[in-house]
Symmetry: C2
DNA sequence: CTGATATATACGCTGTAGAGAATATTTTTA
DNA sequence: TAAAAATATTCTCTACAGCGTATATATCAG
């Protein structure tokens, strides 16, 4: 599944979906990443002050990667624009 | 162009490539984003403490978006692995 | 080579993430 | 709906990003 994310909220939402589909609790994910459950919570809720390190650590634990690309890729489907 | 980024260094590198292809200096990008040239420099150099807000602001200014996806998409081509 | 432009670093200051450790809420499930 | 599990929030503390400002270093053009 590919999640387009342009804001910290969207990033957080993508991570949350992924964590859930992996059947992990925030605490379990925290254990894997040496981050507190509270930190995972903040990240998933899109706190824009979150550090890149935190994002990267969580992506590793969830086996995710990010792709940086041109915007205007305007959605294979119109729905992705909203 | 799609840049795979798994680390803050790779994120920074992708942004730098993009900024350069847009013929913008760090100062000019800083002006667009209300970030200092020094902050752009730090981001591009992959400082892991950089805030998500900073990343997002720069991506907006460069008309970039990110896609969060499964790792192991292992490279359409083997080169992308390195 | 030299001046111009671009990028990296430094200092002091303010703001806030994330830590440990709890607790308050919300959501799930028996 | 009661107990359990998950998530959100709070407290104090430490670390460090990003700010303004300035300068040092690279990089590039003439």
């Amino acid at each position: 599944m590919e999640q387009i994310a342009r804001t910290s909220k969207q990033i957080g939402a993508a991570l949350r979906r992924r964590r859930r589909s992996a059947s992990l609790s925030q605490s379990e994910l925290g254990a894997k990443t040496n981050l507190r459950q509270a930190t995972i919570s903040a990240l998933e809720n899109g706190q824009p002050g979150t550090k890149l390190r935190t994002l990267v650590d969580v992506m590793v634990a969830l086996d995710l990667e990010m792709v940086v690309r041109d915007r205007s890729k305007a959605g294979e489907t119109i729905e992705n624009m909203f």
